[in-house]
């Protein structure tokens, strides 16, 4: 399988691998995907008091394109407000990484991860530190292949 140079770069030099303390008040955690589909992305954002994403971390179980998509996303969300982050579209991710058609779903999952992380941050702010395990699993369908 031929990967674009950018995908290879993100795979060999992933940006922002790691984790934040999931219970921290300024952290939002989005976990999307499922092991059965071969893709699980965990994206965490640290948001400052102005609603700007200061820092982001990711961990991904998935193919090179999935790793690259999520790594790229941690770069793109930094410095953006939550709403600006939500405006990131999978098509932009796919174009930047030159993903082939069969890998577009990786970029969709990365977009979903952003939404999940933002949603988690906002909901936890709303409940003001209510106990949570930091795992906010998105409810949207992810496996687009025929589950035969």
């Amino acid at each position: 399988m031929a990967y674009s140079d950018k995908v290879i770069d993100h795979y060999e030099n992933p940006r922002n691998v790691g984790a934040f303390e999931p219970d921290a008040a300024d952290v939002g955690t989005g976990m999307v995907g499922a092991p059965a589909c071969g893709d699980v992305m965990r994206l965490q954002i640290r948001v400052n008091s102005e609603g700007v994403i200061e820092d982001a971390k990711f961990k991904t179980y998935g193919c090179g394109s999935a790793i690259a998509s999520s790594s790229l996303v941690t770069e793109w969300v930094r410095g953006r407000t939550l709403d600006e982050a939500l405006a990131i579209r999978n098509t932009q991710i796919a174009e930047e990484l030159a993903l082939p058609p069969v890998k577009i779903h990786c970029s969709i999952l990365a977009e979903d991860a952003i939404k999940a992380a933002v949603a988690d941050f906002r909901s936890r702010r709303a409940t003001r530190g209510a106990a949570g395990d930091g795992l906010q699993l998105a409810a949207q369908p992810v496996c687009t292949s025929n589950p035969n």
Partner: protein, 419 residues
């Protein structure tokens, strides 16, 4: 220093060349043995006659070579040369055996039996026969990859014409109990077809004693050229099949088409070399395979796929949990292997063979098949162990699943997103 730098001080060891990786994908195909190439070459430019040309020496000499090759192939499996039919490969042999026997014996019955772990060339052909109106039963296999003989027996009924069970599985190397399966079929007058593409030259096959009616062979899995194979069609008792390739009546009317002399000579020589070298090759390969497994076992959360005992020595199929197969392959470009991950198959589905064995999707996704060959060295094995160990470690530091497992979370209890 970041975690990543700590675990992967140098992902590309000095001297390794991704353009020419260590080859551990012999189950996919093998290089043609130089001795086979030497035998084949004269048949391209000097002895180029059509073996069916009865009227001149060019034809006679070519025909002689074809018949010698036929003897070489039959002697590896202790069959009569007249029982060997040349084809373009094991896929064609499987098609010829299944369609040929099913069509010929249609009046006798309509029911066919096979296993869920068979090669696609068997399963897809069975599907096609189903479309033609045959009834097909696809039996499950156990976690070991072996079919339960009681389950197999229970599937046979009065209208059953044929069963197809492969000898050595191409993904796991698991060896089915062909003798027992054949005995069950023989007593009921049911034909048994065995796909031996991965078996010939790797495990002993004795068709004088095995109750098998049809057997498929491939040249390119055993250091012969691609594009040629054979089908064993038993004579005692005589097996009848309907030809699928018409035009000229070659191969006793079973498979028409001008015989590719150079290819056939190659296959003959490859089978002959296999016969000469199988015992010594296997001993060496078993040692290398065991060395590989003992090295890989040191990695956490690694599982072997397929029966530990009933397995051809060349194969090692392992799952590296919490790491996805394609991302693992990306990191080990200096080693050529194949994966049961959906991402690496055209259909985005994980290995159906591993799933048939009851492996869940994650383990199928993170599986790697290593297949060792005649020319593999201990250095290559050690290099592979080292590389896999480092890449798995690196990918696990990037894996949220590994994180969760380390934190004591039971992944089975997580409600993942619906799909």
């Amino acid at each position: 220093m970041s975690d990543l730098q700590r675990v992967s001080p140098g992902l590309r060891p000095r001297g390794a060349n991704p353009a020419n990786p260590v080859y551990l994908d012999h189950a996919a195909t093998t290089p043609v043995d130089p001795r086979v190439v030497r035998r084949m070459l004269p048949y391209l430019t000097e002895i180029y006659g059509n073996p069916a040309s009865r009227s001149h020496a060019y034809g006679w000499v070519a025909e002689e070579a074809v018949e010698l090759a036929r003897e070489q192939v039959s002697s590896l499996v202790n069959a009569d040369p007249r029982e060997i039919v040349w084809t373009s490969g094991a896929t064609e042999s499987n098609n010829l055996a299944l369609k040929g026997a099913a069509h010929f014996h249609r009046a006798k019955g309509n029911h066919l039996v096979t296993l869920a772990s068979e090669h696609k060339s068997v399963l897809d052909t069975m599907r096609e026969l189903e479309r033609e109106g045959f009834e097909v039963t696809v039996l499950p296999v156990q976690e070991s990859g072996l079919v339960d003989l009681a389950v197999f027996e229970a599937a046979l009924k009065p209208g059953t014409v044929m069963a197809s069970v492969m000898f050595v599985n191409n993904e796991t190397g698991v060896i089915q109990d062909i003798a027992a399966i054949g005995a069950l079929c023989r007593t009921r007058g049911i034909l048994l077809h065995v796909d031996a593409a991965q078996a010939a030259g790797k495990v002993p096959i004795d068709l004088a004693t095995l109750p098998v009616d049809l057997m498929s062979f491939s040249a390119h899995k055993i250091y012969g050229p691609k594009g040629v194979g054979a089908l064993y069609v038993g004579r005692r008792p005589r097996v009848r099949i309907a030809s699928q390739m018409h035009g000229g009546g070659h191969e006793r009317g079973m498979r028409s088409g001008t015989l590719p002399t150079h290819q056939i000579v190659g296959m003959g020589e490859a089978f002959w070399l296999a016969r000469e070298n199988m015992a010594s090759d296997n001993a060496r390969i078993r040692g290398l395979r065991d060395r590989l497994w003992s090295g890989l076992q040191k990695i956490d959360a690694v599982m072997l796929n397929g029966d530990a005992e009933r397995r051809a020595p060349h194969y090692l199929n392992a799952s590296f949990n919490y790491v996805e197969g394609e991302s693992l392959l990306m990191g080990i470009k200096e080693v050529a292997v194949s994966s049961g991950s959906a991402c690496t198959s055209a259909s985005l589905e994980p290995s159906y063979v591993l799933r048939a064995m009851g492996r869940n999707d994650e383990l199928a996704h993170s599986s790697i098949r290593f297949s060792i060959g005649r020319f593999t060295t201990a250095d290559e094995i050690d290099f592979t162990i080292d590389l896999i160990t480092r890449v798995v470690s690196r990918l696990r530091t990037m894996s949220p699943l590994w994180d969760m497992v380390q934190a004591g979370v039971d992944l089975q209890t997580i409600q993942w997103a619906e799909h």
